[in-house]
């Protein structure tokens, strides 16, 4: 494999793949809208929305930002978000617990 082939291999997805990724993201957004408007249990809807959110963010990070080829720096960004999200989840659970006590 020569240098040009190596570079092209790491260049990322083609136009068709990028368009397919975009359409997939649109589909996930549609799924979010459906989950938000469906008359299901609140906890289930929140869980589904959180899962769809993480999936969308992961798709953009891995496919558009080529996170697979930059795992170390991807985790740097993830760490910033994960710490914040984790802290928020803990605080929310603590607040809900205190609300139940009172």
């Amino acid at each position: 494999m020569n240098d040009r082939e190596k570079l092209e291999q790491t260049a990322g997805a083609g136009a068709g793949s990028l368009l397919a990724t975009f359409l997939f993201l649109l589909g996930l957004t549609g799924a979010e809208l459906w989950v938000a408007t469906t008359p299901a249990e609140r906890a289930a809807r929140i869980t589904a929305l959180a899962g769809l959110l993480m999936l969308k963010a992961g798709v953009v990070l891995m496919l558009f930002m080529h996170g697979r080829s930059r795992l170390r720096v991807s985790w740097l960004v993830f760490a910033g978000l994960a710490v914040g999200v984790g802290y928020a989840v803990v605080l929310m659970m603590e607040a809900a617990f205190r609300a139940r006590l009172s």
Partner: protein, 219 residues
Amino acid sequence: MTSVGASEQAATDGGGPGSSAKTSAAGHAPTTRQGAPGVRETRGTVGSAGMWAFLATDAMGFASLFIAYAVLRVRAPAWPDPRGWLPLPPAALMTATLMGCSLTVALAVRARRDAVTRGWLFVTIVLGAAFLSSVAVEYRRLWNGGAGVGFSRDLVASTFYALTGYHALHVLAGVVLLALIVARRRVPPKVVAVVALYWHFVDIAWMPIFTFVYLLPAS
């Protein structure tokens, strides 16, 4: 300098000894990149590493706002259902617009010709401006509407404007940055790739806003 390094340098400079020869031979400026056309490899470059470091710090900024929003929302005695005052279709359109920005800027990165890169960057600018216009329209509707939702009306309004306004500033910065790049005589491929990272991050940053502010059902 290896052939890869020379070709990347030529691509960055928009030409080189080879391209000069092409210019003089063809009588016009070359439109394709030398060495590795359509490839804007940024792995290992200082610009790419610097942008990732900046995005990590910016992620902490957004995370702090989301933490504040989460804590205030959970501890508030009551929180209105977002669908009662934030219509979903415009928000969904804004989400699609930002995802479109990610697509077009990614297409700009992989474009083989300078003119095509500029075209996709211009489309990204248009989509970014459309997003900002949607934000402005929404703010105007909230301010001037029957409910009169101002920034200091209550916690709900303050957190909404803080989150969406902070994000809109990022979009504005991205639009201005792209406009400056498009206005240049040459469009350096590595600069485009680095700026594309920023735009993808702005797209990612909007996703939790859309989910937690517009979609999360009230208790």
